[in-house]
Structure formats: C-alpha cells, structure tokens
C-alpha cells in the first residue's frame, strides 16, 4: 500500500516534535530527503521497518499535542508518513481520545473536573465563577494563551474540587490544583499562559490522601508517605524487593500455588481470580521455547478512570516500586518478558514517579536482561492513555497500545489466549499487583486468613464526597460500610446521609439503611450492589440525586466508544429519557418512561460488547429501585 497524503505539510516545530520522539527519518519512505540515507538505498528497507511501528502512534500523537497544543493536518500527515499509517486511520485514532485537539486551541488548558465527587464539593460554583473570571468554557483567555474546559473525573476526589492544567510547549507541563478555588485557578491559568508554572506537577500529601498514614495495621499502604519510598534505596530499606527474592527462590510453580491459595480476586472491578489468569499463561510457557515468534505479555492496568476512584494513583505516587515488584513476580510466573503499564493520561505525578522507578530498577538490576543474576529477563514500558475511559477495558487497552482506536474486542478469544499483539496476555490492576509481594512474603494461606471466606485480603477503598476525611482507606475485606464511614469521620455536609455510591459510575447506589453491608464481593452482591473499583462516595441529604444521575448519564454518553449499537445509542436515549423525567415532562407518562428505561437497561446489559455498555444503567437502576425520585 502506498500512502496517499493531502498537501498539508508540518510546520518545522511539528516536524521537530515528531522527530524528537522517533529520531530523524532514515529514508524517503519516512519523509527524509530522497537520497538522505547513508548509502542512499535505505528506502528499500524503510517501509518494512515502518510497518512494525504502528504501536508508536499514540506516543507520537502525545508528542505533537504536548508540543503544539493541538494536532494539525500537516502534523498528522507527517506522523502518518513516519509510521506508514494511512492518514484516515491516524485521524480515526487521534479523534478517539479526549486529550487530543484536532482544531487550533490555546497551548494552556485548565481541565476543571465537574464529575460526581467534585460536584459534591463545589465544582459547580467553581465553574460558574471561572466563567465570570476567565470567560465562557472553551473560549480563549489570558491573552489567547489559555482556556478552560469541564472534565470528567480526574481521579483527585479526595482533594475535590480538582483542576488539571496542561500546558503545551517545548517543555510541556502538567500541574494539579486540588482543592481548587477560583482565585488559585485564575492565577494558575495566568502562570501557565506566561510560561511560569511550578516545575513539579503535584505533591502527594499523605495526611490528606491516606488518612490512616502511620497506622501499624496497614499492609498495602504501609510505605505510602514514608520518606524516600519513591527512591529504590528507601524502598529496599522498607522491605522492598524481598518478596521478589523469595519468589525467585520458590520458583514459578510455588509462587503460583501461593497466589492460588491466597484466593486473590482482581481489584479493578471485575473480581476475576488473579491466579486463574496467571495459570493460563503458566501452562503455555513450554510453547514459548518452541516458537520464537510467540511472546507473553503482562500489563498493569493503571488506566484508573472510574469516577470516584483514586487508589491506584495514590499507590503509584507513593509506592511506585511496589507496582514494579508485583509485575516482576507476575512475569516470573507467566513467562512474560515484556510488561506495560498503561497509565491514564491525567496522572502526571504518577507518570513521573513510575518513569523514575523503572529507570532506577533497570539500573539496579531489578529489571532488564538478568534480574538479580537469576537469568530472568523482564522489562517494563510505561504507556500513557489520552483521555478515554473505555481504554481501561482490557481489550480496548490492547488496541490502544497497538495504535488502533480503543474499541473493545469481542470475547472469546480471551486475553490469555490472544491479547496484546494477539499473544497470550495477563492484565492486572495496580492494586491487584501490589497484593502480590504481600502474598509471596506472608504465604497464600496467611493472606487468605484476612477477610472472609470468599473475599480475602485487605482492600483499598476510595472514600470521597460528603465525608469528613476523604482519602484512600485500607481495611480487611468484610469491614462493614458503616465502619468504613466511621473510620473516615462520618458524613460531612449536612451530616445526614442520603446515599452512598459504591463502585463508581458503573456501580450502584445504596441507601443509609443498607450501610451495615459487609464490604465483600458476596456481601454487596447480596443487596444487589457491587464493590467495583472500591469507590465509596457519600452524598448528604442536600444532594439532588437527579442531578447526580444526570451527570452519570452524561459521563457514559461522553465515554462510550460508539462501536456497538446498544451502547452507542442506548446511553444517549437513556440520558434523554432521564432528562425528560427530571424536567417533569415525560414523553407519555412517567410509568412509560421508567418502563422504557428498564427495557433499554436490559438490552444494553444483554447485547453490548463490553462492560461499559453492560453497566451503563447500573447506577440509575439501583437508584430507581431504592427511591421514588420522580414522584
């Protein structure tokens, strides 16, 4: 296939941004001078080389967006040329992600979260005041050098309301502002417009984000906030990498046995037994030796985008090496030699700390060709998402890494059969992976004694909304919701609880009468709820539940990938029906609208390709089952 490009050419700055990411083009296939190669014959191999580079498309689009602030036709043409990707497909990928602008936009953009957790903490008055101070959303301000936009959940819920400033330029910067006030946002916008933002993207304040910090009972969070844990020496002083050493002594088979004995269930939301995934790759390891084209991949799913979820962010910022150690042990069992961390694009501090940790681990021999002199080969690449909730779905995540649109694949085949690059792949959530060193250290049986029969181990909960001390809490599974709320200082706001949202936008509401539910997979299931990704969002009785439901419906409308019909149109019809109900003008009758909503929910649950569509009505249905909101 020959590429056909329009006449639009990149500016020197755009070309530079691409070349900095990929290196100078070597052949005329990739946009170099016709006789540019060393022996002027490089164009013969240039194309072959380029064909395998499709997976660099997303990093390349990031590079252009970060440098210029938007992606022009000329820049996209050049990126297409360099990677030998048809420009129509490159456009399809670029236009899929929320963080990429395909029309001119000021270089500094303040993303103001107006999602449910921030709503409960004043994001609406903040947006109103910003509109007054800076002008309407999306309009240029600060001399045309900046603008502000509303955003879905930024994962900073314990410090709501939150703002993320992203400024493009030669040295692109991201800066978190949370909690945000109109004045501080205004001054940040002006700083960004004038290129004088503070260098550090954010500071992790353990007292604020981990209220239990210092408690001796902590296992998963025990290092977060301790001095130097983000440096490899500090990590090792606090027991880091002891589990990896032990795992290497035990060998893959016994480590797998320990994980199986621990009955660890995935912490990302789907609660799938971690050992089952690992075992599926473990039993295929023999084929790796026979077939050199075969590879196993390990992916750490850090695309934490479920509204109200921020536990993974706090771990990655506060204890990044624990994630790497968990991955390395997983690689030992699964035979993966390449691992990816797919991090959501809105986490600048986590990106910085993980990148540093990967470098340091390589330097010290904890990653690379011969880990700890054991002959084991494993390395990790950090990949950043670009504002697409759906990419947290594992098969969408594969497509995203491969440089395709982040659309989920139909299953089967399952990831352990054909995942990333169609090779056997294990995907584990960040929290799941940091449980691994714990299990290896103390043994699967001891780990399984924590929690309940079917929900073992400690669990992280992201407590936010109208609560006295929001933050990440670590409690043994089986702790009741009431105990957790008490831990967090009880209901704030009016002090009278109206509802708790468990599991985020794809989760369920529970009423104050249900808060004695034990926080276990089976306990929540018994009351028709879910633990999901560990979201515990409190809403006081001043909350307008209808507004919250509308915001959730808007979230799904914004985040559906659009691939399958039930989800693509269903989330729109759902939002429209809800809007009519809220405005008190149902199409026929209230009962009719509610029946229609139930029918839509059923079809979306039954016929959607992936979990997004299947759960897009879950919160709404749980609310309708508990309260008569449209009386």
């Amino acid at each position: 296939m020959d590429l056909h490009l329009t006449g639009a050419r990149p500016t020197p700055e755009e070309k530079d941004a691409v070349d900095l990411e990929l290196g100078q083009p070597e052949s005329s296939w990739q946009g170099a001078q016709r006789h540019g190669g060393a022996d002027s014959r490089t164009s013969f191999e240039g194309n072959q080389k380029a064909i395998s580079q499709r997976h660099l498309l997303l990093p390349l689009l990031h590079a252009i967006q970060n440098r210029i602030g938007w992606i022009s036709e000329g820049a996209l043409n050049y990126a297409s040329l360099r990677l030998d990707v048809p420009p129509a497909e490159a456009f399809g990928v670029a236009s899929f992600y929320g963080m990429f602008a395909l029309a001119p936009r000021p270089p500094a953009v303040a993303h103001v979260c107006d999602d449910i957790a921030c709503m409960a903490r004043g994001s609406e008055p903040l947006c109103e005041e910003l509109a007054e101070k800076l002008g309407p959303e999306g309009a240029p301000c600060a001399g045309g050098r900046a603008t502000w936009l509303r955003s879905n959940c930024l994962g900073l819920c314990e410090r709501a309301p939150a703002v993320l400033m992203i400024r493009a330029g030669i040295k692109a910067q991201q800066r978190v502002l949370a909690p945000a006030t109109p004045d501080r946002v205004e001054s940040l916008v002006n700083d960004a417009a004038n290129d004088c933002m503070p260098a550090a993207p954010d500071v992790l304040n353990p007292q604020l984000s981990v209220p239990q910090e210092g408690s001796r009972k902590l296992a998963l969070l025990r290092r977060v906030g301790k001095s130097n844990t983000t440096q490899i020496d500090g990590y090792q002083r606090l027991g880091g990498y002891e589990a990896l050493r032990k795992a290497m002594e035990l060998g893959a088979e016994r480590v797998l046995a320990e994980i199986t004995a621990s009955r660890l269930l995935g912490r990302g939301g789907a609660a799938f037994p971690a050992a089952k995934k690992w075992e599926a790759l473990y039993v295929q390891r023999e084929r790796l030796k026979k077939d050199p084209t075969r590879k196993h991949y390990l992916i750490c799913n850090a695309d934490e985008s479920e509204p109200g979820t921020f536990k993974d962010r706090v771990i990655m910022e506060g204890d990044p090496f624990a994630v790497l150690e968990g991955m390395t042990i997983a690689a030992l069992v699964t035979g993966a030699e390449k691992g990816y961390i797919y991090l959501r694009g809105e986490y600048p501090l986590a990106a910085e700390r993980l990148a540093h940790a990967i470098e340091a681990a390589r330097w010290e021999g904890f990653l690379g060709e011969d880990i700890l002199g054991n002959g084991m080969r494993f390395d990790i690449e950090l990949r950043r998402g670009a504002g697409a909730y759906i990419c947290g779905e594992e098969t969408a995540l594969f497509n995203s890494i491969e440089g395709q649109r982040g659309e989920p694949r139909n299953k089967p085949p399952f990831p352990t059969q054909a995942g990333l690059f169609r090779q056997p792949t294990v995907v584990n959530n960040v929290e799941t992976l940091i449980n691994v060193p714990l299990i290896v250290s103390q043994g699967g049986a001891a780990y399984a004694s924590i929690g309940t029969e079917n929900s073992t181990g400690p669990r992280l909960f992201c407590v936010s909304g109208h609560v006295e001390r929001p933050g990440v809490y670590e409690v043994p599974m089986g702790t009741t919701l009431r105990q957790l709320i008490d831990f967090a200082g009880g209901t704030a706001g009016t002090g009278r609880l109206r509802a708790v949202l468990l599991g985020g936008a794809a989760g369920t509401f529970v009423s104050p009468g249900e808060i004695d539910v034990p926080l276990t997979f089976e306990g929540t299931r018994a009351i028709g709820a879910t633990l999901g990704s560990g979201v515990v969002m409190l809403l006081d009785d001043s909350t307008d539940m209808k507004e919250i439901l509308l915001r959730i419906a808007a979230f799904f409308r914004h985040e559906t990938c659009g691939q399958c019909v039930p989800c693509r149109v269903g989330v729109v019809r759902q939002q429209e029906a809800l809007q009519r109900l809220v405005e008190g003008r149902p199409a026929k009758s209230k009962a009719d609208e509610l029946a229609m909503l139930r029918e839509m929910a059923q079809a979306m649950r039954d016929a959607s390709i992936c979990g997004l569509g299947q759960t897009a009505s879950s919160a709404l249905e749980s609310a309708l089952a508990r309260w008569d909101l449209f009386a």
Partner: protein, 318 residues
C-alpha cells in the same frame, strides 16, 4: 532402423520445426491440491433442535443450516465479522450476556435460543435505537425486521438525537449520506484489508458522534480513494450510493420494480468479473457485482463499476 528413429528420438523433429524449446510434460497423475482436512463435526442445540455443523462454523451458519432466519446488518459473507450491530444476538445457555451469532464459533454442547424473550427484546431495541437515530428509508432490510420485532422508534420522541448531517457530494461517481449510516464498519473493511487495501476511510470520533470519515474530513478527491466503489457494494443502508441512483431518486425517477438486471462479464481486462447491469427504461442506471462470485466476491474496479457510459452514448449526428 529408419522407421523406428522417430519413436526413439521423438523430440528431434519438433525441435527442428519449433523455435522454442519444448517443456517436458510430466507423466503420471495430474497433481491435485491437498484435500482440506476433514473438519470435525460439532453437535449443538438450537431452539431445542440438535444440529451438527463443522468445527469452526459460526452460530449464524448453524442457524441457517437449520433454516432459522437470523437478522443481520453489519454481517456480510465476504467480510470479517465485526459484530457491532448486535441485531444477530442469541441466548447462549451459561452465558451472562447474549452472544453475537455472526462471529461466535460453535463449541460442543452449546445450547442456543434464537427467539427467546431476551433475544427479541435486544433485537427490538437495537432496531429502535438505529431507526430513531439514522435515516433508514433506503435500507432494504429494516422494514421487515422492524415489523418482525415490533420496533417502535417513534417512542423516543421527536427530540431524540439523530446523526443527521448534510449529504456529501464531492465527486461524480458516488455520494455519501452519513445521515443514513448505521456504523456497520463494512465500508471501512471493504476499503481496507478485506478487499481494496486503500484505507481511504476509517471510523473517526467517538461515541454517538463517531462517523466514517477521511482524514480531517477532506473531500474524497483529496483522499486516497480509488473509486472502486466496493464500499457502495457492501453498504446496507444506502448511505453510500451511486451518483446515478442518487440523482434519479432526487428527481423522483428511481423505479426499482421496473428495473431489469442482466448478468454479464466485464469487458475491460482478463479477470472476468461478473457484472450485474441494472437498467431502467433501456438505460443502465448502475452496475453491481454478485457477492457469491468465486473470483470477485462482489468487488469490482472503477472501470467495471463505473465505466459503462460508452454503452449508451448516442452516435454523433452526421
């Protein structure tokens, strides 16, 4: 001795008469392509009836074997199934969700319901979702399906969001009316690896505003399009349409029942693609290609699909 010479050296006289060296004809049986390995038969149950189909078949194929009519929109025999429209979903025992019949391969002892209440509800909603957001007036399959499943798209009200947008007429051969697009991905597949390998179009955007587009929505003549028209051949809704058909429809002159179809062979090259010439009132109005043709699978080139005007050029007056 003289008489036997030709028999012992048969090649000599030929060499003398022909300037080309003879290619020796191998003796023995004519070589055959290796027979396909026999496919294991898989027993499954569809609506309670046992059916045995070769391993690797899809549920859709199995259902068709049994004579069960399964609606499809994004499925086409000649393309890789993308299972996005979800109108073919069936209920599989033991599965939490419904499964797409078009792409799900049969496994031993599957038990499938093709017309259960859950199946009918999902199919009805899929049709309602599409018909309420897309102009399906030129989609042949829709009316029948909607009647069969009792779909009432009007119940979402007049203010239901649609994908309405102006029709794109930027070349002389075909028009693109994305207000009629159900995003079945077929044209993208036909333009890409499933047929043409041109990659002029792709799905762009996200969610409800996703659409089929060239890069930055540039007009087709500026894109990589080679006007093979294979995308029109696979479009199930008339979103992609021959300019000739579009113009006649606009003028109210399109009269499908009066049209005749004649199968012939493309006159341009030696491949021998079959053409179906559609004619109305003695004039060619469009040319298509049969999907089940073993060589073309419904695909044609720009010449075969669009190069027929010479047939009906009036001779210049003398």
């Amino acid at each position: 001795m003289k008489e036997t010479t030709p028999a012992t050296t048969p090649a000599t006289p030929a060499q003398e008469t022909s300037p080309l060296p003879l290619i020796p004809v191998p003796r023995g049986p004519v070589p055959q392509a290796p027979a396909e390995p026999e496919r294991r038969m898989i027993e499954i149950k569809i609506d309670g009836h046992a059916v045995s189909v070769p391993e690797g078949s899809t549920i859709l194929e199995a259902a068709r074997n049994l004579g069960v009519d399964t609606p499809t929109l994004c499925f086409l025999e000649s393309l890789t199934p993308v299972n996005v429209c979800r109108v073919c979903v069936v209920e599989l025992e033991g599965s939490r969700t419904l499964v797409p019949a078009c792409s799900r391969k049969v496994e031993p002892n599957m038990s499938i319901q093709t017309d259960s209440e859950r199946v009918r509800l999902s199919r009805k909603l899929v049709l309602e979702f599409l018909a309420s957001s897309v102009d399906v007036s030129t989609a042949p399959a829709f009316a029948g399906y909607m009647q069969r499943y009792g779909a009432r798209p009007e119940r979402f009200g007049d203010s239901a969001a649609t994908v309405r947008q102006p029709v794109k007429i930027d070349n002389d051969l075909y028009v693109r009316d994305y207000a009629k697009c159900i995003l079945c991905y077929k044209c993208v597949e036909a333009c890409g690896v499933d047929a043409q390998n041109t990659f002029a179009i792709a799905v762009s955007g996200r969610g409800f505003s996703a659409s089929i587009a060239t890069e930055f929505q540039v007009p087709l003549p500026d894109s990589a399009c080679v006007y093979c028209g294979n995308c029109i051949g696979v479009c199930p809704t008339g979103a992609l349409m021959f300019k000739s058909e579009y113009d006649m429809r606009q003028a109210g002159a399109w009269d499908e029942p009066q049209q005749q179809q004649t199968t012939t062979i493309c006159p341009y090259c030696g491949v021998g693609c079959n053409l179906i010439v559609h004619q109305q009132e003695g004039k060619i109005v469009k040319v298509t290609s049969p999907l089940d043709h073993p060589v073309t699978h419904g695909n044609l080139s720009i010449k075969g699909r669009f190069g027929w005007q010479f047939v009906q050029v009036e001779p210049a007056p003398k």
